[in-house]
């Protein structure tokens, strides 16, 4: 409900449809309301537009004036999915210039970027014209305004996958991560791009690990980059404990006095993995892991103390709590 428009006015010189001479032939259809749970009072403009909209729909009229009417109706309520559907039917019927419609929906998207219907409308138009050339720019602007806009990211990923537009995407993502290293959507997109284009080859994996560690260093409490690192490890058959770059990074960060819960958690997992591989000093590894869990539970992250105690308990059983690639891949 947070997507409610605050921009519903149709302009100061709104002429009621009931006063328009070219609408004289239409009998407006009002909504009958007698149920207390559903009874609602609308503004006069709203009632006017939607009474005529209902009349047009019931007649099945697909005309220029119907198109204008739907424009007013979506401005009053861009979340009304029925109006958008009808508008598309009219667009098709009249064989309208869909590039014009792409411009129109772009303007609405920038006013209502968190609305499902506007993005869906755009996707259908892009399918119809079979031309994605504006999509990267539109989503870029939407993402610049709200870096975590789920709809914008979803649209961008759809268009990239649908039209094979992976080129230059890593640069786009890199800039966003540079701007805000905590942007989880950008990290997810990075994974999406690599996974669907080059794949995580040995070479790319090495580069990605370096890139991620560098960014972890910038913000060691940043869940997104640590999660991404764990995602990378899923593609590495030496596991977590077998990757010297990662283990050395963690140990050096730890000995610098860093107490990020994500760092400690990774060291716990490294200990667990080493122990389950049957190293000679398995007991020592488990003991260390447990001590870290206890520190997390009591001092660093007590809000999740039950989680950390669970991890400690399961260390000995060799239950890995991360890096279990069997399910995701």
């Amino acid at each position: 409900m947070s997507s409610a428009s605050s921009d519903e006015e149709l302009g100061t010189e709104y002429t009621f449809y009931r006063d328009k001479p070219d609408w004289k032939d239409i009998e407006p259809l009002s909504q009958d309301e007698d149920d207390p749970v559903v009874a609602i009072d609308y503004s006069p403009e709203f009632t006017d537009v939607f009474n005529y909209f209902r009349a047009i729909v019931s007649k099945g009229e697909k005309s220029e004036r119907a198109l204008i009417l739907t424009k007013d109706a979506v401005k009053l309520n861009p979340a009304n999915y029925t109006v958008w559907q009808y508008r598309r039917e009219v667009l098709k019927e009249l064989n309208k210039d869909l590039y014009e419609e792409l411009c129109f929906i772009e303007a609405i998207i920038f006013k209502q970027p968190k609305n499902y219907q506007v993005w869906q409308h755009r996707r259908i138009l892009v399918e119809w014209v079979n031309d994605p050339k504006y999509e990267k720019n539109v989503t870029k602007i939407a993402i610049e305004k709200d870096a975590k806009n789920y709809h914008a990211w979803q649209h961008r990923q759809w268009v990239i996958k649908r039209f094979n537009l992976y080129e230059d995407e890593l640069n786009f993502v890199e800039k966003l991560i540079e701007l805000d290293v905590r942007n989880n959507s950008a990290w997810n997109h990075r994974y999406f791009i690599i996974n669907n284009s080059t794949g995580f080859t040995e070479d790319i994996l090495r580069k990605e690990i370096d890139f991620t560690l560098e960014n972890i260093r910038k913000a060691t409490e940043n869940e997104s980059s640590w999660n991404y690192l764990r995602g990378l490890v899923l593609h590495n058959n030496q596991g977590l404990s077998g990757n010297k770059t990662i283990t050395e990074f963690c140990e050096s960060l730890y000995s610098s006095g860093n107490k990020s819960s994500f760092l400690l958690s990774l060291i716990v997992d490294i200990c667990g993995e080493q122990a389950s591989k049957g190293v000679v000093d398995a007991d020592v590894k488990i003991e260390r892991g447990r001590a870290l869990c206890e520190e997390l539970a009591t001092k660093i992250d007590p809000i999740r103390k039950n989680y950390w105690r669970y991890i400690a308990e399961n260390l000995e059983n060799g239950i890995k709590t991360s890096g279990d690639s069997s399910k995701v891949l």
């Binding site: 409900m1 947070s2 409610a4 909504q31 007698d34 149920d35 207390p36 749970v37 559903v38 009874a39 609602i40 009072d41 609308y42 503004s43 709203f46 209902r54 729909v57 309520n77 979340a79 009304n80 999915y81 029925t82 559907q85 598309r88 996707r123 259908i124 975590k148 789920y150 990211w153 979803q154 990923q157 759809w158 905590r182 942007n183 989880n184 959507s185 997810n188 997109h189 994974y191 996974n195 669907n196 060691t220 409490e221 869940e223 997104s224 999660n227 991404y228 764990r230 995602g231 860093n258 990020s260 809000i303 999740r304 039950n306 989680y307 669970y310 239950i319 709590t321 991360s322 399910k327």
Partner: protein, 331 residues
């Protein structure tokens, strides 16, 4: 370390108990408000609005509205051709509102009032060859719709009309490297969509495909120092996300991994003591949507004065029991 955590601060004089009578007032009045902007906006999602209000009222043991009127309204929203149900009269059918309608009818033990064959046909018609579901004839794909489809069919005992294996395969393909789920393959993990996927798997009995501990850790990382839960990293806490995270943890058998008292305090602080109702965050405008999810979350947290809620369906457990529906809950 200089981390800037996005969170809210709870004030001193926040409510610490549930103000039941105010909520009843709020929910009862909501549909009747005159010239309220919110009321205007609810037209296109009226069926869901009714589900939020009526379920919230049921959870606090009230049902002030005449059932017949509500059932008649729902009947009038069913499209005879496709069998689907719309948000309101003069709207097109959609899976979201079909589920809301079926949920309300279950509350009122009135499933027979609509054409259930039609609902079955409609839901089945929206499944794609890859197992995913579209929300309506325009083909928007989202794991939300996978959930709506199996929840609807499960409530009317018609789960066998769709290809469950394919549907599960699609949901599984939306599992991410962090254990979470998004709207489509490799879309960012998001607590609302995780709820949809976990509830989907719980209803279909396929919860064993998740990375239980990985996912539950991601979910409990959503709890912020204020006690509230957010829906993604670096987002503000919100009562509705608190429900989605909490119910998912409940189905995963890991509800105890978050700090229950802290969450309870946060949710109670989101009540509006003047008007009743819950908001997303303390001090914001209340609405029926956050009121339902606030009450439902408090129910999962064990508040005895609220009816027990079913974590997958977000409906009173007594209603689910009566329908003899069993969902999978991990240990």
């Amino acid at each position: 370390m200089g981390s800037i955590l996005k969170d809210v601060e709870l004030k001193e004089n926040i409510p610490t108990t549930v103000i039941f009578s105010k909520h009843i007032e709020f929910l009862t009045d909501y549909g009747q408000q005159k010239e309220s902007y919110e009321a205007v906006m609810t037209d296109y999602l009226r069926m869901s609005g009714m589900y939020w209000c009526l379920t919230a009222l049921e959870l606090i043991n009230t049902s002030p509205f005449p059932k017949n009127d509500i059932v008649e309204f729902i009947k009038s929203c069913q499209d005879t051709e496709s069998g689907g149900i719309s948000a309101s009269n003069d709207h097109d059918p959609h899976l979201l509102y079909t589920l809301s309608a079926v949920q309300i009818l279950c509350l009122y033990d009135s499933l027979d009032a609509i054409d259930l064959e039609g609902v079955t046909r409609y839901v089945a018609s929206l499944q794609n060859p890859d197992g995913s579901f579209a929300g309506d004839k325009w083909g928007e794909i989202d794991t939300r719709f996978s959930f709506c489809a199996v929840a609807t069919l499960s409530l009317i005992k018609k789960l066998d009309v769709i290809n469950i294996d394919k549907a599960v395969e699609f949901v599984k393909s939306c599992m991410n490297f962090d254990g979470g789920f998004g709207s489509r393959p490799q879309s960012e993990s998001h607590a609302g969509l995780i709820y949809c996927c976990v509830a989907f798997l719980s209803i279909t009995g396929k919860l064993d495909i998740v990375n239980q501990d990985n996912l539950a850790w991601w979910l409990c990382e959503r709890q912020l120092p204020s006690g509230g839960l957010n829906g993604r990293p670096e987002k503000l806490p919100d009562v509705c996300y608190s429900w989605w995270v909490l119910s998912s943890l409940a189905m995963l058998g890991r509800l105890h991994w978050i700090d229950r008292n802290a969450l309870k305090k946060y949710i109670l602080a989101c009540q509006d003591i003047e008007t009743g109702g819950f908001a997303d965050r303390p001090g914001d405008m209340p609405d029926p949507y956050h009121t339902l999810f606030g009450l439902a979350a408090l129910s999962l947290l064990g508040l005895e004065s609220i009816e027990k809620v079913n974590a997958a369906f977000c409906m009173p457990q007594s209603v689910i029991d009566k329908l003899q529906i069993h969902i999978q809950m991990l240990q």
